[in-house]
Symmetry: D2
Subunit: 338 residues, 4 copies
């Protein structure tokens, strides 16, 4: 039996990838797709080049009643943070399973929203109900979940690299030097994001406090002594490359790290760990739902460099949302993704 | 004795290159630099990376009285078309020599402005007074000129390639397939010009009527039987590459073309013609004030392919403006440019 | 019943795309993959990022007996021209259906090979047997074919745009100004193809005689009075953008062109023609098996600009090869491609 | 009185920039330019686009007697490491002042050469005589020097950022996460450096031991407790962006860092430090001889992020060599560079 899905924010970069994946998903049927007023009326196939010749509903301007009228079983929100925060309680009231790709339900602590997201959270009571959807680390919590907070793109790449090392990170200092293609910032009508300004350029931003920092920190817990996150903008369309510099509190063997990764991901279809000393390049994952991780110990095992790469629009957004969709509804995790 | 110069539109791409050139020009002294309100108060050195450590006036919001108060001998307008059309008569009234980098005084025929520029020309009476500043073809008209219309970037690359061939172009069909980097469109706050949309992309635009078409046609005169101009957008910051396909009315020898180019440019410091069959690449001129031209005859001399390359911000704008400045005031043509 | 396929040249750009497509083709089973000595022993999944987690045979160094031992029904050659010319007769002797992605069987006239390909054709007797596999124009000739010459990438984009206009092209002059991403040249260990040299660059090449010129000309026949083909190198990885400038022998109406395209492609799943005046951009086809065509009449219908865009590695190579594979064996044309 | 200069390795990326700078240097006269056999006979102006129209000697294949015959006062070596190591003693014997842009005389400890450079140093006795030419930190040692080891590009960007902090770095952990454009690797005839492979890509390399690591470490001395250096390859032609993550042994105030930088660089014409919290982007220095440095304290002053940007071919190679040339001979430090 197919699951009726609706996508809000279908014409942004992540939303379009999501529509493209769901259109080919054997268990999903696209009930409706919504966007801002500017894109209303656009044909379904215009959303993504891969949809050429594929039938589906026209893009509509978002209207909550119109959305309900299309009777979706699962709703995907690829919407701005404040819009998600406003829509989620209404969807909860209608008992519609929701996968939110924005940051609005990623933090448990409502007091962080004014500082990192610039607004008071209007539905803080739902923060505890949201499952943080880093699929490989959700254990049984996704099955039957009604609200999933899809992780941030940077957070996905960094947490997939660090979570397996939890037992080694007590007292550690962790420096995440991350680099992202421009699609991570969404479609931007800004001189700063124009090709004329960005070609040949590279820059750091958000050094004093990017919103993915508390997301990463809260998921890692109290073990590490220090965690910093410095994002940079790569002059390319897509992909995230995170270089993670770890200072351990004791000496670590390559075999210990390999064993930790092996236990975590040997059965994971979308996370792959390379042999010690072998580091992945970005191109090996762009356009795919995969994460690749490599590591190198230094300084007699007291330090490590870990590299984690993903496609920010897929494993960092749309394909992870589909993994979560599959888990919620009991489909095979790889359905629609391979 | 130095010439006091003022630049209006100093923070756009062409304006910034112009300021950078004039700051090092031995006979120029920068009296003032103006921009839109948004950039007012910016330090002089912020205009261009090459100005680091160079002293000069702060950027001011444009105000005509303030401009006059800085007492410029020569004014450079790197302004939107309509603003130039409005400023030029006021500058003429003040007897300030003006070099206009916009398109507002490039066409003689005022009736073309509504169609190609979208406005009725407010100072059509001055169109006849403007010298069309394709430097190498100005003969004596620049010396002492008071109003110069600096040619369009596409027009510069194409006319430098075609003007020497005038005697061969009677009855010819001429197809100009031109490609430009994005800086030709100025600083654009638009999703369409974002790196996310343009990286890896290529497109044609203005096929049915780009404003450089009547500019090129009017400068070529009535000889050619047909002229088309099809511009394209290259996903790179700067440079224009014009591929010009000519169908002659008779058979032409390589030596005839070589002789025509030799006569035109042997003494020109900034235009260089390669040997028959050798075509220039864009990189050989980007960042320089030079134009390079190559040609190849085909079809038993009935057809030719001519390639002309320039840096759109330099020979297509700022450095040609400095050539014109030098000629107006009797400085050596290469002053400040080599 | 599945068709056992083997790919020779599996690790080049086109070969890798072909393996990626065939690995997901419901009617194909990959029997073996061959490459040069340098790649021998590489795991199947290393061929293309999309193959992560997909099972298949290891890459082997090409050996004809080893190839026969894997008992392929269909062989795809993504090999250098001379190697294809040598392998094809041996495959014909073994009655193995062959789809050749090289240029070795695209021309009927063996005398053109020394000039355009640099070698005397060793199996000229087979040139007449090869079906020129521009799928949409093959009518019934592909069904059951044993040797298919897969068209060149430039030729595909240009011929798909021009073949429908055959009745309008008598006496016409046709100028093909084409632009290709660098993957069209294959994997190149050359300073000229390094990013350091190509970033921000653009150039023309092969103006006096590219090998796709006789291919295009021979497929168009004797109607046009003049045809030129000028290829350029875009500083991007993939995609072909052909701007075709046509001078008709009479005046043509937009409706005539639209009707001609409609008749040719309304039923074609992978060729799409836009409305008069609407021109496609490259990004709309990169990563897809589609061709998009747009056109604009000029000069009172005596001239037209036609733009045709494809992904050079897909519609210009691998996906067209799969279309041909489908037609040969009677599978649906879209099988494995949508 | 002009200084006769000769450049060996004039057609590589750094060498060409050097020739371009020296051709305009008021106190230098180019006596000869040498390259490998492949470039012998090329005209002087072909070395760099900016030399169009500039007179100078033809490129010659390197021959030591021919070099001596041109009677240079100063020799610049932009040569492979092993060639420099072989040439320097011969030049020393001839008492020719030499500025070596290779790595052959950057380390004092000859035992590091086999490990980091892959050869036994043939003239280890000269290592002590070489002045390490990080211009801003040379104090009086450059004046009259006869052998200068021009620093590595990464080392320049990192040491300029760290040397002023010496008093704060006792017991510190320093992690240098550096990113370089591809010209840092020189002109490469390699598939790995082709645009087809690098466009849209990003990767780390040399994590276990890049040759700039011992260079940086030896210049910093024994203060820091730990130093790591992880270089990455940016898919752009030029520029180095170093993100330096410092863990101090105590709490540091922004004012302390600002004061340290101010003392070091207030009088330095080519190093500029931004206000606390303001980080430079790469484009602000590409094409210039400048270094820009920004810093941000974190974690209550126990941690800092410092960003240092340079053009790898200029401040990281050619323009720093000219600074050193100026200092050796007593010219103003900015001569030929502003």
């Amino acid at each position: 039996m197919t699951n009726r899905v609706s996508i809000v924010g279908a014409t942004g970069y992540s939303g379009a990838e999501l529509v493209s994946l769901l259109a080919k998903h054997p268990s999903a049927e696209i009930a409706s797709v919504f966007s801002s007023e500017a894109n209303a009326g656009a044909p379904f196939a215009s959303i993504h080049p891969s949809l050429r010749g594929v039938a589906g509903p026209r893009v509509e301007a978002l209207d909550f009643d119109a959305l309900l009228a299309t009777d979706p079983d699962t709703l995907f929100l690829a919407t701005p943070n404040e819009l998600s925060a406003e829509l989620v309680p209404r969807l909860a009231a209608e008992k519609i399973t929701t996968i939110d790709l924005s940051g609005s339900f990623r933090l448990r602590d409502a007091s962080l929203y004014p500082l990192f997201y610039g607004f008071d959270h209007p539905s803080a009571g739902l923060l505890d109900r949201a499952v943080y959807g880093l699929t490989e680390w959700c254990n049984g919590s996704l099955e039957g979940a009604t609200l999933v907070a899809n992780p941030g793109c940077y957070a996905t790449s960094i947490l997939l690299a660090l979570r397996p090392l939890d037992p080694l990170l007590g007292g550690a200092t962790i420096i995440c030097d991350a680099k992202s293609g421009v699609s991570g910032a969404g479609k931007r009508a800004s001189v700063d994001y124009s090709l004329g300004e960005l070609a040949g350029n590279f820059s750091a931003y958000g050094v004093a406090g990017h919103r993915h920092q508390p997301e990463i920190a809260s998921q890692l817990g109290d073990g590490p002594a220090f965690l910093s996150f410095v994002p940079h903008l790569l002059p390319i369309p897509r992909g995230i490359f995170s270089t993670i510099h770890i200072g351990f509190d004791r000496s670590v063997e390559p075999g210990e790290m390999a064993a930790a990764y092996s236990e975590a991901y040997d059965a994971a279809p979308f996370v792959h760990v390379l042999d010690h000393g072998d580091l992945p390049s970005l191109r090996s994952v762009v356009g795919t739902p995969h994460c690749e991780i490599g590591f190198q110990l230094l300084g007699e095992g007291r330090r490590a460099v870990v590299v984690s790469v993903i496609d920010n629009l897929l494993k960092g957004a749309a394909s992870q949302a589909v993994q979560n969709f599959n888990r919620i509804h009991g489909y095979a995790e790889t359905e629609g993704l391979s």
